[in-house]
């Protein structure tokens, strides 16, 4: 049975989510206004305007450093480096996306090998293993799609992970992952970073095919996050026995009905810079 105190806390947390979501949506939309550009999306884009766009986007990301978790870590170092941005913006965006997918694949695979992840009692254990397996497959397909786009646009494939995030976030975080809940929360953050990065690029890239690719993937990453949030809430609430496809709905805590979609609008404050994972 779920721990009642933990479930109550979960419910309270869920209620807070609404306020938080609206506040952060506010900030995200305000950022959209601040970075508003009258850019057309039909492919006829002034390169200078793109440079300005990237500069503005980096400025916004830098501004969010304080308490920004994944969004801020390593960004200062990246922005201080003149070495990136060697190819066309769309190619860089596709390569960075591929690098984020490679990163996700590496993290899921590494997490799946942790001993405590292999010993989660069923049904949660089987559910989590199946989810990880399928999600790695899907990230692999995404990576291939982004690399195909990069090549189509005249660039190279990106075979490696987003090194900035890997070095600054993943490497230090891995030793701190002690429980399945830690892993689920960490994976949910990575999925959010992916979804928000792709949303930012949907509006930024000029190639329509690449835009379509970003658009068709961002929602899938957000679905991964939804399930991870739901699973995390059940783990945190002491109800791992409810982690299964088709859980007994009458036994789910009320908060389980909303914990998977805390935001009314997807934001971009966790988006990675378009150049970050570009092939150097």
């Amino acid at each position: 049975m779920p721990n009642n105190r933990a479930l109550s806390a979960l419910i309270e947390e869920s209620e807070d989510l609404h306020s938080d979501a609206m506040r952060t949506t506010n900030a995200g939309l305000a950022d959209l206004v601040e970075q508003g550009r009258d850019r057309r999306a039909d492919g006829d884009i002034d390169p200078d305007e793109i440079v300005e766009y990237q500069s503005e986007r980096s400025r916004l990301l830098t501004k969010s450093l304080a308490g920004a978790g994944l969004a801020g870590i390593g960004l200062t170092r990246l922005l201080a480096s003149p070495a990136f941005a060697q190819s066309a913006p769309d190619v860089q965006a596709a390569q960075t996306a591929a690098s984020i997918e490679n990163l996700a694949i590496a993290v899921y695979n590494q997490a799946a090998g942790l001993s405590f992840m292999k010993n989660i009692p069923d049904p949660a254990g089987a559910t989590v293993v199946a989810f990880v397996t399928k999600t790695v497959e899907q990230h692999t397909e995404h990576m291939k799609a982004f690399n195909a786009a990069a090549k189509q646009l005249g660039g190279q494939e990106q075979p490696g992970p987003d090194q900035v995030v890997f070095d600054s976030v993943v490497t230090p975080a891995l030793p701190t992952l002690k429980t399945p809940l830690d892993v689920v929360k960490f994976a949910a953050e990575l999925e959010l970073v992916a979804a928000e990065t792709y949303l930012a690029e949907v509006a930024a890239v000029s190639d329509k095919t690449l835009r379509s690719t970003f658009a068709s993937i961002m929602g899938v990453e957000n679905q991964h996050r939804a399930i991870l949030l739901a699973v995390g809430a059940l783990l945190e609430g002491g109800a791992p026995e409810l982690i299964m496809l088709g859980p007994p709905a009458d036994k789910l805590p009320a908060a389980a009905g909303s914990v998977g979609f805390p935001d009314t609008f997807l934001k971009t404050d966790q988006a990675r810079p378009a150049e970050e994972g570009a092939v150097k």
Partner: protein, 267 residues
């Protein structure tokens, strides 16, 4: 996914009373209003600091600031525009179907969001009336939360429309309502039926946004709005799949199958 698949059934005991359901709805509404002062303050700040510069969401020939969008998404502080739009719709003279280009997509999106709001309300009403049998608390929370998000999505699109000098869309996508919702809802007898029905609507909404981004919308601001909503509809879909016992992320790439177009009748 799991080896212990278990289809959601209708439990034997009533899990939530009418009073509890109404209280939950009221609480969510209060939560919504709790956020307004903060958001309005931010909007005021925007207007004071950068109010004279028309930037951000340009839509067709007319512009609307994200501040206005934000206000409308809160469901307040746009009284004049909203009341004007409401009266237009009440007269049955909505010009939504006369719109073209991005504005037509905005109207379509608003009408689909309104249809979702209406359908979830019908589900909540049926639950309150005891017509769906047992309604687990998590299902009630899902319906009330998702309905509120759809309201905010509709408000976002309507802010764009009114900002462009057009009437807000208060009607629903009649084409979908008449062909799908009305006949389909008649077959909703329990929460599992309702979840399956809602899943269909969420998938249509997500597909419509994706199709808009990929094939129809020209303005980058509108692409951002559609892009910020489509992944949320997909999250709704994932949770519904999960509760229904299906794999929650069935596709590696979102699809446009089922997307609606601007030829749909809005009323």
């Amino acid at each position: 996914m799991s080896t212990s698949r278990k289809k959601t059934g209708v439990p034997s005991d009533m899990q939530i009373s009418e009073r509890e359901l109404l209280a939950m709805t009221r609480d969510l509404d209060e939560l919504h209003h709790d956020t307004l002062p903060k958001m309005q303050a931010a909007v005021a700040e925007l207007r004071e600091g950068r109010g004279t510069t028309r930037r951000g969401f340009l839509f067709g020939a007319a512009g609307v600031t994200a501040g206005a969008l934000l206000i409308a998404a809160c469901g307040s502080d746009s009284t004049n525009k909203s009341s004007s739009a409401a009266s237009t719709a009440a007269d049955g003279t909505s010009s939504s179907n006369k719109l073209t280009g991005d504005l037509a997509i905005a109207a379509l999106a608003a009408s689909l969001e309104n249809l979702a709001v209406q359908t979830y309300q019908a589900g909540l009403d049926a639950a309150t009336a005891g017509k769906l049998g047992t309604v687990p608390p998590a299902i009630a929370t899902f319906a009330t939360t998702v309905q509120k998000q759809h309201k905010d999505h509709a408000a976002a699109w309507n802010a764009i429309l009114t900002g462009a000098g057009q009437s807000a869309v208060t009607g629903v996508d009649k084409t979908v309502q008449d062909a799908v919702v009305t006949p389909g809802f008649a077959n909703v007898h329990n929460v599992v039926d309702l979840a399956k029905f809602a899943l269909g609507l969420e998938d249509v909404a997500a597909a419509t946004y994706l199709n808009g981004i990929q094939n129809a919308i020209q303005d980058v601001g509108a692409i951002k709005v559609a892009g910020s909503i489509q992944p949320i509809e997909m999250q709704h879909s994932a949770i519904l799949h999960f509760v229904l016992g299906d794999y929650p992320v069935p596709d590696s790439f979102a699809k446009v199958a089922g997307a609606r177009g601007p030829d749909d009748i809005i009323g």
